[in-house]
């Protein structure tokens, strides 16, 4: 089973990201479960959402405390909330930021992860480009598909189109594809910790 924990703030589409991920996994023929965390719900407050993906029926309902993948939609949470708590040493990290791991002050910790498992993606910038707003959730899902290979980018795109019909879905899908392709191209370089920065 792959367990994913997504961190962000209220209003940033954290719960939606987990739901989309589960829909994409379902399209890929897997079992999936997405649910929000149980904390205060208000704009701007730290929010966590979870997604489990497995080859068999998922029964447990407990919060994800030992994730295989951590997605951080809002980099201001990095030194505020224990976003990496319980993360597997073989796990994956996706962070929305235009800065490098060193600039984020995370190099010491993140350099211990396997090659290609840490992706810093300018997801907010990609969001602005496609949607005129720093929407990071759908680009990060594209990055997730590229970095982990756990789901197909086509399935991510179809989940987005299903949830958001019309041009909103199309633009979100384009943003997810761009982030996906960016991470794929950086992975080709394979420089260990991955700084998928826009040129």
């Amino acid at each position: 089973m792959m367990q994913v924990r997504i961190h962000g703030r209220g209003g940033q589409g954290v719960v939606t990201a987990a739901e989309l991920l589960s829909m994409a996994a379902f399209t890929d023929g897997r079992y999936a479960q997405a649910f929000p965390s149980f904390g205060s719900e208000r704009m701007g407050a730290p929010v966590t959402a979870f997604c489990r993906i497995d080859e068999r029926v998922i029964r447990t309902r407990e919060a994800v405390t030992q994730p295989d993948v951590v997605i951080v939609q809002d980099p201001t949470l990095l030194h505020q909330v224990d976003v990496f708590g319980g993360l597997s040493t073989q796990g994956y990290v996706l962070i929305n930021s235009t800065r490098s791991v060193e600039e984020l002050g995370l190099d010491e910790f993140l350099n211990t992860f396997p090659h290609g498992h840490v992706c810093v993606v300018p997801a907010g910038d990609i969001g602005v480009k496609h949607m005129k707003r720093p929407i990071a959730n759908t680009p990060l899902l594209g990055g997730f598909a590229a970095a982990t290979g756990a789901i197909k980018i086509e399935s991510v795109v179809s989940a987005i189109r299903q949830k958001f019909p019309g041009s909103l879905g199309a633009r979100n899908a384009d943003a997810a594809r761009e982030a996906h392709d960016l991470v794929v191209s950086r992975l080709r370089d394979d420089k260990g910790v991955l700084h998928a920065r826009a040129n």
Binding site: M23, F35, F38, R61
Partner: protein, 417 residues
Amino acid sequence: MRAQIEGSQAVAEAVVLCRPEVIAAYPISPQTHIVERLSRMVKQGDAGRCQYLNVESEFAALSVLIGASAAGARTYTATTSQGLLFMAEAVYNAAGLGLPIVMTIANRAVGAPINIWNDHSDSMALRDAGWIQLYAETNQEAADLHIQAFQLAEQLSSPVMVCMDGYILTHAYEPVDVPDQNLVDAFLPPFSPVQVLDPSDPISIGSMVGPEAFTEVKYLAYQQQLRALALVPEVAGDFERQFHRLSGGLCTPYRMEDADIAVIALGSVIGTIKDAVDELRLEGIAAGCVKIGCYRPFPSLQLRAALEGVSRAIVVEKDLAVGMGGIVSVDIRMALQGSAVPVHTVIAGLGGRSISIASLKRMVIEARAERLNEPHFLDLNTTVIDAEQSRRREQRRAGPVAEQVLRAVNAIGARTT
């Protein structure tokens, strides 16, 4: 069709498949997504001739349905927590009048302190209001139970609550097979009421009943609800034949054939308990679990049979009777009357606290070693409790408890999510 959808969406679609004629509801988290979707479906003309009434309160919602149901309409509402308590008077009336209303409870804690997250305090508070109470383990079961609920309600002339865990189920995306309309139509015929307000054939419903007949009316209600003990499994059986999957029923055992210790619970935590049972089995502990699918009427005999042979039972319940302890465990002790099997009460998951496999396994191991308190509070933060109790001993004007505990928890766990 099988789809990856939100629990609330699955329930709304299942309700519409049952062809309700009147829906009245007042939105309250975590029930909101269900009624929002229903109101949209009605507005868009996707719910036949169903009328959706946007009322001013929960009390009004159920009161409207009492009228509509008495006039012969198939009726539905949904609520939770404080909303259920606000309609409490009408909840008793719907049952006392024998009206087959179906209501979803998106289970949530009851304040104060205010908390919008899941536990069973709300539906437990009204467990003896005369409604049949069913509890869903998964979103598939939540959807299926609604289809069964209309069947049960209308056969028994009794209202039915379908209880599903707020957020944990209502807001979870997981695969659900929403059945085809023609299969539901074949399973659930149009509503044929045993009593109906009809101007061309006038009757009275809701007479005042004095001491000369009140006991007899109540006794008949008691007998009528006990009929559900036969009907619930029958309807679940019919459902399985029609839809080819198991949903509902009175109680369902899991790995109980050779179990030495049983964990009993209601609702979505059963899934987590099953995983804990599997892990305990790998560690050589013969654990099993029993799901209570129908809590009212209480299936005493069936539970007694399901627990045959165990040397110990643990009831994990998401509620608390202040001044008593457990609620479900008291019923289980009744069911096991005369047997020597010790029954532990474990209070868990209050106000949305996550119930982990690790905590459940620890609970079973501690119970076997006779180290559980009675009642036992799962994952209780004793550091915070001790600090607050000593603080309150030291000063008379100690202030409100909730705010002090929040401050203490934040000071201790500032860097956890």
